[in-house]
Assembly symmetry: C2
Homo-oligomer: 283 residues x 2
């Protein structure tokens, strides 16, 4: 059976999501905890958004396949329902910078990665000295100069929609850089920090941090808002676009379709992915 | 001249406010930074609320007396106004868990400690597993069981007002334990955490954490709400009242009177303090 595990983590002390020998990663810690909790030698976890080193998550979604008997055996020793028991056990094993928010039975056809229809990230900047909160320093980037959010939002407008984001991506062989950016805007939160909401069907590598870097250059007055359109249409990496540090970035939420559409969405993502790969390789 | 310095800090890695040889403290770090920034051999900083080891602050207020020439000399090398220049310089010297929010010239008669008319603290508890945020783990206490905030607020009501809080204080010779509790209530914040607001003219040692411990015992159903009144009227430390860990506690704000009343308030605080000490010693 497939279970869905929702996670939150402080990425500061992780070398990103993906398991790597000898390094502390979110996947590595979670799989080790699952093996211990389920007393099973091997588990493999899939996530919705593979976060980089230093990037945080409040809404990471994962799935893992387990034998129903294994799960029942784990819960059998407690009074709680099996999913709840597993969640408690995992939080007892995991360090305090990685927390299981919930464990639930996945709907038919659910795939944490391929069923997802969008990922939403936040990038937080403390650009006014009096708003720098030492209690939030792990996930908010301090910035010397105050940013012009109106100019940044003007720059953002042309980036929304379906485009080839090659200018904002680390190029990988055999992978398309066409993405649909659903939301991109800046606002001041209740703590008076500048916060970007960035939502897309999917992101290529470094894309959120390059988009934010481009807009910050505009917000500082180093470029006009129209510069973002120039960068986008060039369709190749522009060294003037700085990839901002990971510290300010948090994966906030992953969107999924209604339960009866999970399998269909997963199939659609796989077909699109294969078509894009084929196109890249052959033409 | 007297300057007011507003501070925020993550108390996790500090052994509290007060300077101690060989230990990292907020006062120690700030005084060392001031000595470096002002190129002066000796400064002495006074704060509004002497926080314990592990307690945080978003609204700590301090004052320090400096020679006007020293301040001018510091700023003379920059283009900024002297107060702003000093704030920037201090933040350049201090570690990221201690931030200067503002540096301003203190009004006539201002004393960070004695002019203060109230101190407001928040105590934050994540009592629902899905609300545990690893990004906030430094300043929010995780708690296994969900708390009954209505019962806790019922317990809180009898504690508000002027009372002898000896039951909630670590007794010190020659010091009164009579305080005026101005606010004490629990609410759920936007993250669904249980948060206590605790505001008083002043607090004796451990008082906030003992009050919170008493109310948490009620919120867990270990005691009836009326127990808080019993504890208060006993007027001596009750071992059933647990002093909760410092991690959840943050000094949020210090209240001061209008500028022209600063000196008067400071004088009043000193007189009250001396009268209480005399009473304790002699009668």
């Amino acid at each position: 059976m497939r279970i869905r595990i929702d996670l939150a983590y402080d990425g500061t002390d992780f070398k990103g999501w993906a398991k790597q020998p000898g390094l502390r990663t979110v996947q590595g810690d979670l799989e080790a905890a699952l093996q211990m909790a389920l007393r099973t030698p091997q588990v493999s976890v899939t996530c919705a958004g593979r976060t980089d080193t230093g990037v945080h998550a409040r809404g990471q979604v994962t799935h893992v396949d387990v034998y129903e008997e294994t799960l029942q055996a784990t819960a059998g020793r407690t009074q709680s329902p099996p999913m709840e028991a597993l969640g408690k056990r995992l939080n007892g094993i995991l360090a305090s910078d990685l927390r299981v928010k919930s464990v639930t039975e996945a709907p038919e056809g659910f795939d944490a990665r391929f069923s997802a229809v969008w990922r939403r990230y936040a990038y937080r900047v403390a650009d006014r000295p009096e708003t720098t909160d030492p209690l939030a320093r792990n996930h908010v980037l301090p910035h010397r100069n105050e940013l012009d959010l109106a100019a940044m939002n003007e720059a953002a407008r042309v980036l929304i929609g379906q485009h080839d984001f090659a200018s904002f991506c680390k190029k990988r062989e055999g992978a398309t850089t066409i993405r649909t950016l659903l939301d991109l805007h800046w606002y001041r939160d209740i703590e008076d920090r500048a916060v970007a909401t960035v939502r897309a069907d999917a992101f290529c590598h470094n894309m959120v941090r390059a988009l934010v870097g481009c807009m910050i250059a505009v917000g500082e007055g180093r470029h006009e808002p129209s510069w973002a359109a120039d960068v986008l249409s060039a369709a190749q990496r522009d060294p003037a676009v700085i990839v901002v540090p990971p510290q300010g970035l948090t994966l906030e939420e992953v969107g999924y379709p209604a339960p009866h559409l999970m399998a269909q969405q997963a199939e659609l993502s796989r077909v699109k992915r294969e078509a894009a790969a084929a196109e890249d390789t052959h033409g």
